[in-house]
């Protein structure tokens, strides 16, 4: 079943058309990776899905319900959680308080404090520490745990690997199957194409705000992805409709 359906979404960033008529859909229990170069509109797309940036036109539906104009705090109740770019932990709060902040609305679901601590066992003994003292990878883990505690149906992760060491990134990606296995659908923005191809069921490539390529990693050749990513030659227009 389709969980998220985005149609002709256009989002302006000041004068700039950061997202230009993008359509995509994500099925329940699927991992969709959005790839694209810097400034392709990936983060703006995710922020619009979380309700932080208002779209100029187009629609966003979550499980058949139109949420295009819904403010961010109500989307949390509807089942959308965003792990924002740069982690954005609350710096004066402890690790535990950051996690609890995610549980603020008390949406029911599989994710409890105990479940998150099981996913990231190191957090248990550092729960009292200030979030600002953690390393980048640890902060990313707390940000993911915080988002999970809101028990989202749709988990949006922006720039998961940005600024993190490869070994840290691998360790964070190791928990993704567990998250999806618990019934959460994930939409991740990833600059590292090979990483995205490994973990995603489908990838979707943006170029200058437009959708230029989409498909399953197994069906896409490296060359096609590269051309779409950098906008070399006449990249095929995105396939409308479902694969």
């Amino acid at each position: 079943m389709t969980l998220l359906s985005v149609r002709d979404l256009t989002v302006h960033h000041g004068q700039l058309r950061a997202v230009d008529g993008v359509s995509l859909s994500v099925d329940e229990g699927e991992v969709l990776a959005i790839i694209g170069a810097n400034g392709a509109g990936k983060s703006t797309l995710l922020r619009a899905l979380a309700g932080l940036n208002a779209p100029s036109s187009g629609t966003v539906e979550l499980a058949g319900r139109d949420i295009t104009r819904m403010p961010a705090h109500r989307r949390v109740v509807a089942g959308v959680a965003l792990v924002p770019e740069g982690r954005r932990l609350f710096r004066s709060l402890t690790v535990e308080e950051n996690l609890l902040a995610g549980a603020y609305r008390g949406r029911p679901g599989p994710w409890t404090m105990a479940a998150v601590l099981e996913l990231f066992p190191w957090m248990a003994e550092r729960r009292g520490q200030n979030a600002g003292q953690l390393s980048g990878g640890e902060q990313q883990a707390v940000a993911i745990g915080r988002a999970l505690l809101s028990n989202p149906d749709l988990l949006l992760i922006d720039e998961l690997s940005l600024g993190l060491a490869p070994v840290v990134v691998r360790r964070i990606y190791e928990v993704l199957p567990g998250i999806v296995g618990a019934g959460t659908t994930a939409l991740i923005v990833e600059q590292d194409v090979s990483q995205a191809m490994r973990v995603a069921d489908r990838v979707h490539c943006l170029l200058e705000g437009r959708s230029v390529l989409q498909g399953r990693p197994a069906e896409l050749t490296g060359e096609r992805v590269e051309h779409a990513y950098f906008g070399i030659g006449a990249a095929e227009p995105a396939q409308e409709g479902r694969h």
């Binding site: 979380a50 309700g51 932080l52 403010p71 961010a72 705090h73 109500r74 949390v76 109740v77 959680a81 965003l82 924002p84 954005r88 609350f90 710096r91 004066s92 709060l93 308080e97 609890l100 902040a101 995610g102 549980a103 603020y104 609305r105 915080r146 809101s150």
Partner: protein
């Protein structure tokens, strides 16, 4: 009065300054609003209590118990209909709105209550005291005020650290957009911050009104004490505000021992010294 007594009186007075300053600090910490009407709000609470006492004949403590929650409710309303609208237009707009509010409040009070100087009469309670030792005697009112202030600060601290909504207040202070992503409606969070600010400023205003006289124009000169307590203690820390209030209170009371005319000047000088040598405040923290 001996020196020890002066210090004790200063510490007790400091509790009241801290209670008075808490709301100012909280509104700035959570919403980045510098509330220039803060002092006038304390005066409005005093006049409200005065009107209730003379209008209903209820005892003063009942009036205080009624006025504080009434003011808290007024705070939520003020935030939602007045301040929230100005927040999106930037910090200068909120400064202008609270400045305007200050002037409006002063003039409304002047119109309704005239320029006469008043006090809230608490009878023997306001003047009575007990002797701790030969040199130190403590007024019932000063001690009650101090204990109320400490209880209020401890209550706020518990609320901020133990409850989900309190955590969201601190989270909003760090990063309002990400607090939105946690499902916090910033308008409601800001409303709650204003509720706490209004409740504490009302309580402090009533205590000021029992201690000393007030008139419609005294708000701004009270406001400066709140600013000084906040800045001396360190912005964003409740216990810093308590410390700042105490430093201010002790300075005023000890310098009054030297020469009563020095009282206010000495407090301002300490404030300037902190600004010059330790601008982050004595306890630079971000717990609230």
């Amino acid at each position: 009065m001996g020196w020890v007594n002066a210090v004790v009186q200063g510490l007790l007075l400091g509790g009241l300054y801290a209670l008075f300053a808490t709301g100012l600090s909280l509104m700035f910490g959570v919403m980045r609003i510098v509330n220039l009407a803060h002092g006038d709000l304390a005066v409005v609470a005093s006049f409200l209590a005065l009107a209730l006492v003379s209008g209903t004949g209820l005892p003063l403590w009942v009036v205080i118990v009624v006025t504080v929650p009434l003011f808290a409710a007024l705070g939520y309303l003020t935030q939602r209909v007045l301040l929230q609208r100005s927040l999106s237009s930037g910090p200068l707009a909120t400064l202008l709105v609270t400045f305007g509010l200050s002037i409006v409040l002063q003039n409304v009070l002047l119109e309704v209550f005239s320029a006469d100087t008043r006090t809230l009469d608490a009878g023997a309670f306001a003047t009575g005291s007990f002797e701790v030792s030969g040199a130190v005697s403590v007024g019932y009112l000063s001690l009650t005020t101090f204990l109320l202030a400490c209880a209020a600060l401890a209550g706020i601290q518990l609320f901020l650290s133990r409850t989900g909504l309190g955590r969201m207040l601190r989270a909003s202070s760090d990063d309002p957009e990400t607090a939105n992503l946690m499902g916090a409606d910033s308008r409601h969070v800001y409303g709650i911050a204003t509720v706490i600010a209004f409740a504490t400023v009302a309580l402090a205003g009533l205590m000021f009104a029992i201690r000393s006289s007030f008139d419609p124009a005294i708000g701004p000169s009270r406001l400066i004490f709140a600013f000084e307590a906040v800045v001396i203690g360190g912005l964003g820390s409740l216990w810093g505000t308590l410390l700042g209030g105490m430093v201010l209170g002790v300075t005023q009371s000890v310098s009054a021992q030297v020469d009563p005319a020095l009282t206010l000047l000495a407090g301002h000088l300490i404030f300037l010294a902190v600004l010059a040598f330790r601008p982050q405040g004595l306890l630079a923290g971000r717990t609230a």
